[in-house]
């Protein structure tokens, strides 16, 4: 007998012993073996040797050779290959290659082959121990909320408490920044955002979906009653029935309608964890099925992607700039920070908990001498925390204020002329526009006052102070963009003018940069751990950043969507209900990708007939969302399945509901604020890099299941389970992810599972990442640790200059000279919002500007509703008569004029819809402006959806879905014209989406044709 043959036989014998031994040792595994009765045959085709495994009622009998009648076969081309692939530790690259080379294969029913493969894998992991034993019978696990990492104390299968992580003696010491004779060091603990501390209440929410459910009047073999979506109730069904139905509908849609007939739609966020994330498991599933993608608009980046990129590039950061080293530079060298539409104390950056707050608190030390000013129509939480002059321009108008500042700088010589001459192009053209040479209107502080309502004298004083100081300009929630004013109708102009202001003052010089200490912490960015956008187990090399590094480090089967049909997300309701839509892509590879218009339906594709919806957020996160009600009730949608954790929002419009569990009930792995992709080095927001093993703290509630399990079960019915899962379990993917990172060099797997977290030591002071833009100012090669833009997008020597055609900051954008767009001229000009004070009759009808920023308390829909603890926070929701209404803030005078007092129920409305809220009169807003958090998790129409008021607080029913400009796919809906009045208790309100007669166009709100 050859060595390979003998080895193969011994390994198979060993496997049989392993399976039996694990069944004796572990009740879970014993139970597993009872799940199937069948015979599996493992064999080497060349030598015709093997071993069979007969499973019957939990008993395993095995034998050498060929079984007479095996149900499934696991086939290796020869014994040598079999021995190599089965010898632990498993080499995943060899496994993948063997499948691609057809030297490893399976034969038999998918359910059995996949069960057998996963059982063999489980035999190796079943004894793994998670967590740390604590006094009082508690086991402590770790996990990650979207608002920071947590210790989870569990007793008797129940979560007792969730706390931030206090580091112990074994964890490394944090960094120290020395500035102006002082030292600044963050505390040795992690922080949480409110929605993070709230997590226990949403895990145990009464709104959890605990069983698969089917709409009562949906019959896949008879009447489907799409018109009743959102109205009818549900009946509980079994998992088998639910999974069969999904699989049958997938097959039917593909067979009856052709490619593209199934669409998948997910929110912009998910529960945390790199394997379970939507960019991971869902993408692998969707690619395996072949689905029409709902192509996202660049959510919180809007103005930066569609506007700022033309001035400075940074497309792989979606128009936002590099941020390295800025915390240290700011503390050492800056004199003043200008927060502009920036409220990091509310928005926590992205998943950044309150880490930035800890650093910004240092600004309150008078010895630092760093002043702050705030520009925001709302006296936001950051203005409250960090006292400074507050400028409150009317929403959408601060573009004019910025231009007036530039005007003063030009007139009074308060900008860096040398920098502008060397590092920028096109300044004279913009200067001519500001001075009025082009249109006869000098953009003076007085000119802006008419637009913004901010006194000219104050703007002049700000411009003078700014021009004489070293200033960090801090637009948006990240301080270099994101959220804020980039999401309203003039957001593109705003982001553009922000870059122009920074360019005039010497961006990159000591103390002159972008940021408000939210990004730019001096951490170790060389230690590799993938972010969620790196795609986890997706195998998706096109729609995640996997090809950059993770694909090489974590070999896996690539996945590819066979359909190229896309729906522009903003126009999803029109695409589905009316059958056509046009959009512009969000692709970060170059500046020019955004110019490539696409259409739905795609050539040769079927229109969408089935929707696989993941979660239920869009009714409250997209705009003018009564359109979505109409979409769901369209007969064009033959089948809607929603895979969701909670029964909320759109989940109530599905035909079939699949209950998913939270990340606290399944296994996963992740890093805090590890975004990857477009959020490269998102850990810069943190004071400590914390990587977490997400042990399942409790068993999934009810019959809820992990997304991975659900996808795999559907795949079993389509013969795709071994492709989807690669024959392994979730924990194996987690281990593969661990192995793909730098973690094995510093911590053992066993210890990581037990301890639950690893803190990456802070970078040594002399090895810290350089300050952003310093290289640019000093005319050196780019030296910050980001491999972007793409090498081909440099226009001179590699690493020298920016991504723009000139390689410089462009006041006059070459890309917008090449792509002619009347709404985006090469220089930024002020064009008032198409929904605002210049809207004439419409403004008289709806004289209040509604701001809908992200909540300080919930994370979009996460944490809100669901009977959570957050309902108790009076600045979030207020209990009036037994119902928790969303808080709506309005100016005290505006309230008085309407006879509205604190916590009165009011109706806020326009032609798009009406929402009932609890009023909060305040001085935090100028007259004519009101404010309520977007992304209510509750959508609760008090009558028929679309034809009645909503008491859930779903303010995005009222916001415009029209894109900022025609040639962009840019959300504009963070501001809307509305009226507010005391609620008279009436519940009817017909949305114009459902109106039988249309208003004349000058009175219509958001009137625009989606597709020409």
């Amino acid at each position: 007998m050859k060595i390979a043959t003998r080895k193969f036989s011994i390994i198979l014998f060993g496997l049989s012993l392993l399976l039996k031994w694990k069944a004796i040792r572990h009740p879970v595994f014993r139970a597993r073996l009872k799940e199937r009765n069948f015979v599996a045959q493992i064999l080497a085709r060349d030598e015709e040797i093997g071993r069979w495994f007969a499973f019957r009622d939990g008993k395993l009998v095995t034998g050498v050779g060929y079984h007479a009648n095996p149900d499934i076969k696991l086939l290796f081309k020869n014994a040598a290959i079999g021995a190599k692939l089965l010898t632990p530790p498993i080499n995943w690259l060899n496994q993948i290659n063997a499948q691609k080379d057809f030297t490893l294969g399976v034969d038999g029913p998918e359910d059995l082959t996949n069960w057998f493969a996963q059982t063999v894998m489980m035999a190796q992991t079943v004894g793994w121990k998670f967590g740390t034993k604590m006094p009082d019978g508690i086991t402590r696990y770790c996990n990650m909320t979207n608002g920071g990492p947590v210790f989870i104390d569990v007793k008797d299968g129940k979560i007792v408490r969730m706390t931030p992580i206090e580091f112990d003696a074994k964890d490394p010491q944090p960094w120290t920044i020395k500035a102006r004779g002082m030292s600044f060091t963050p505390p040795r603990k992690t922080t949480l955002a409110p929605h993070g501390q709230n997590a226990k209440s949403i895990i145990y929410s009464p709104d959890r979906l605990l069983h698969p459910m089917k709409r009562v009047d949906f019959d896949s073999n008879g009447d489907r009653n799409p018109q009743n979506r959102g109205k009818s109730g549900y009946v509980r069904i079994s998992w088998d029935e639910a999974l069969d139905l999904v699989a049958d509908e997938i097959k039917r849609c593909k067979r009856d309608h052709g490619p593209g007939a199934i669409a998948t739609s997910h929110g912009s966020h998910h529960t945390w964890g790199n394997i379970g994330y939507y960019l991971s498991a869902l993408y692998r599933f969707a690619n395996a099925i072949g689905m029409t993608r709902v192509h996202h608009n660049p959510d919180s980046w809007e103005g930066w992607y569609w506007g700022a990129v033309h001035h400075w590039g940074y497309t792989l950061r979606v128009g936002q700039s590099e941020t390295y080293g800025t915390v240290e530079d700011c503390l050492q060298n800056c004199d003043m920070i200008v927060f502009w539409a920036a409220d990091p104390e509310s928005t926590s950056g992205s998943y950044g908990a309150q880490e930035g707050t800890v650093r910004r608190q240092w600004l309150k030390n008078p010895k630092l001498g760093i002043k702050v000013v705030h520009v925001d129509p709302y006296y936001n939480a950051s203005a409250q925390f960090l006292p400074g002059k507050w400028f409150a321009p009317r929403p959408t108008t601060s573009v004019a204020m910025a231009m007036a500042i530039a005007y003063v700088w030009i007139k009074e010589g308060l900008y860096d002329k040398g920098y502008v001459a060397i590092h920028t192009v096109g300044f004279d053209t913009w200067k001519a526009y500001l001075l009025g040479d082009e249109d006869g209107i000098p953009k003076t502080p007085e000119w802006q006052e008419a637009e913004t309502g901010v006194p000219a004298k104050d703007v002049r004083a700000l411009a003078r102070e700014w021009g004489k100081k070293r200033v960090y300009l801090a637009p948006g929630g990240w301080g270099n963009g994101h959220g804020g004013a980039c999401r309203n109708q003039t957001g593109i102009q705003w982001a553009r003018v922000m870059v122009c202001l920074a360019s005039m003052q010497g961006l990159g010089k000591p103390g002159i940069n972008l940021g408000h200490l939210q990004w730019g912490s001096p951490l170790d960015f060389n230690f590799y751990f993938p972010g969620y956008a790196d795609g986890g187990m997706s195998g998706d090399l096109e729609n995640t950043s996997m090809p950059v590094e993770l694909y090489q480090r974590m070999p896996q089967l690539p996945t590819m969507n066979s359909s190229f049909q896309r729906i522009p997300r903003i126009w999803m309701p029109e695409a589905i209900a009316d059958g056509k839509a046009e959009g512009w892509p969000w692709v970060g590879k170059s500046i020019e990708h955004q110019f490539a218009k696409f259409s739905y339906p795609a050539p040769g594709h079927s229109p969408v007939k089935m929707l696989y919806k993941y979660g239920g957020s869009m009714l409250s996160t997209m705009n003018n969302t009564n359109r979505h009600v109409r979409m769901y009730q369209s007969p064009n949608l033959e089948f809607v399945v929603n895979q969701s954790i909670w029964f909320e929002g759109e989940a109530k419009f599905a035909d079939l509901i699949l209950p998913a569990c939270t990340n606290f009930e399944r296994v996963d792995i992740c890093e805090w604020a590890g975004l990857g992709g477009y959020g490269h080095h998102g850990q810069q927001q943190l004071n400590h890099r914390v990587i977490v093993f997400q042990a399942p703290a409790i068993a999934p509630l009810g019959e809820s299941k992990s997304d991975y399990w659900i996808f795999n079960e559907i795949c079993k019915r389509l013969g795709l389970a071994n492709y989807f899962s690669e024959g392994v379990n979730e924990i194996d993917w987690v281990k593969r992810h661990f192995d793909a990172s730098d973690l094995p060099q510093v911590i053992s797997w066993k210890r990581f599972m037990k301890r639950g977290y690893y803190v990456v030591p802070a970078e040594k002071e002399h090895l810290r990442a350089p300050v952003s833009f310093r290289w640019f100012w000093e005319n050196r090669k780019k030296d910050v640790p980001e491999a972007q833009p793409l090498p081909s997008d440099y226009h001179g020597e590699y690493l020298k200059g920016l991504q723009t055609q000139s390689g410089k900051l462009e006041f006059e954008c070459n890309s917008l000279k090449r792509f002619k767009d009347p709404e985006r001229p090469p220089i930024v000009k002020y064009e008032p919002s198409w929904e605002g004070p210049h809207s004439g009759a419409l403004y008289r009808k709806y004289p209040l500007q509604l701001l809908t920023p992200h909540s300080k308390y919930s994370y979009h829909t996460q944490g809100d509703g669901k009977d959570s603890f957050l309902l108790n926070i009076e600045d979030h929701r207020v209990n009036v008569g037994g119902w928790y209404y969303l808080v709506l803030r309005l100016n005290e005078e505006d309230a008085k004029e309407r006879g509205i007092r604190k916590h009165d129920l009011v109706k806020i409305y326009n032609d798009r819809g009406a929402v009932i809220c609890a009023a909060l009169p305040t001085q935090r807003l100028p007259r004519g402006v009101c404010h309520g958090y977007e992304s209510s998790a509750i959508y609760d129409p008090m009558g028929e959806p679309g034809k009645s008021v909503d008491r859930g607080g779903c303010l995005n029913l009222l916001t415009p879905h029209r894109t900022q400009t025609r040639n962009t796919h840019s959300l504009a809906g963070s501001q809307a014209l509305v009226q507010i009045e005391p609620w008279d208790g009436k519940t009817e309100h017909i949305s114009e989406v459902f109106a039988e007669t249309k208003l004349p166009s000058e009175l219509r709100i958001g009137d625009v044709v989606p597709a020409q």
């Binding site: 408490r161 206090e166 707050t357 309150k364 603890f869 209990n879």
Partner: protein, 279 residues
């Protein structure tokens, strides 16, 4: 003997409510026999944040004051309790025994701070127990202090003398000192909640252009005596703070180079932004 105290800095509270949420996380759905019966999911705020918005836009500020059971050394609730239902522990913590206190609804009214909450379902009065069950397990801080991102909430264990000295040195206040309940919860910068300000913005017109006046001398007088004197900042703004609400008539004298002095009379009820004052 070292005892537990809480020190809260009003200037550092951002109203994130993490302390409130941490208390809910700890007590909702959990029972700690001898310490606390479960807290109802809604209706109770064992840690409740008060707020005060001062002034008129654009010159405003907001103060947040987390409040809770004060663990008073001379606690009115202890006197009002029958059956020894409320005890003062040696470490300063006041505990309501969830069994002995059953049915004693009068305790809700006994607390001068409104921080005894009635649990309708269990028929028991409840208050925040200083996380005593955790303290007794060796925790060195409370849940709220652990979750507080800015350190605005701190638990300290000190001798009473040391605490008194700290309170003096750092100008710490307690709420309602006049009732002499001797709370163990101290506040820094409480004036941001209890006092008011008087402010305005100075401007001049030169050649049709209006500008802010920086460096103008602004004097606040009461009954002819100077209360404070400050210079306007580069936005022309001046702000006198820590004034007593309803403290009546003041006059403000403004003098700026090259301009005639100006006097403004004010009857102060609450924080007031006088707005633009043209010199």
């Amino acid at each position: 003997m070292k005892k537990w105290n809480m020190i809260i800095d009003v200037a550092e509270c951002t109203n994130c409510n993490l302390c409130t949420l941490a208390a809910m996380d700890e007590y909702v759905g959990n029972e700690f026999p001898g310490y606390a019966a479960p807290m109802p999911k809604h209706g109770h705020q064992w840690i409740k944040i008060l707020q005060k918005e001062r002034g008129q836009m654009p010159m405003i500020d907001i103060a947040y004051v987390p409040t809770m059971c004060n663990h008073c050394d001379d606690a009115p609730c202890i006197k009002a309790a029958t059956n020894g239902a409320i005890v003062k522990r040696d470490d300063g913590i006041v505990l309501i025994d969830p069994v002995k206190a059953r049915g004693q609804k009068q305790l809700v009214d006994a607390c001068p701070y409104g921080h005894i909450w009635w649990n309708e379902e269990l028929g028991v009065p409840q208050a925040w127990p200083f996380d005593a069950h955790l303290i007794d397990q060796g925790w060195d801080k409370t849940r709220g202090a652990l979750s507080c991102p800015t350190g605005a909430m701190k638990t300290v264990k000190l001798d009473d003398d040391e605490m008194a000295r700290l309170a003096r040195e750092e100008n710490l206040d307690v709420i309602k000192p006049e009732i002499n309940a001797r709370p163990r919860v101290y506040y820094k910068n409480l004036w941001r909640y209890t006092t008011c300000f008087l402010g305005g913005s100075l401007s001049v017109e030169r050649g049709g252009i209006i500008d802010c006046v920086e460096g103008a001398r602004v004097r606040l007088l009461k009954d002819g005596a100077t209360v404070a004197e400050i210079l306007s900042d580069n936005y022309g703004d001046f702000k006198f703070d820590k004034l007593e609400p309803g403290s009546g008539r003041y006059s403000i004298e403004i003098s700026a180079a090259g301009r005639a002095p100006k006097t403004v009379a004010v009857d102060l009820h609450d924080s007031l932004n006088l707005g633009e004052i043209r010199l």
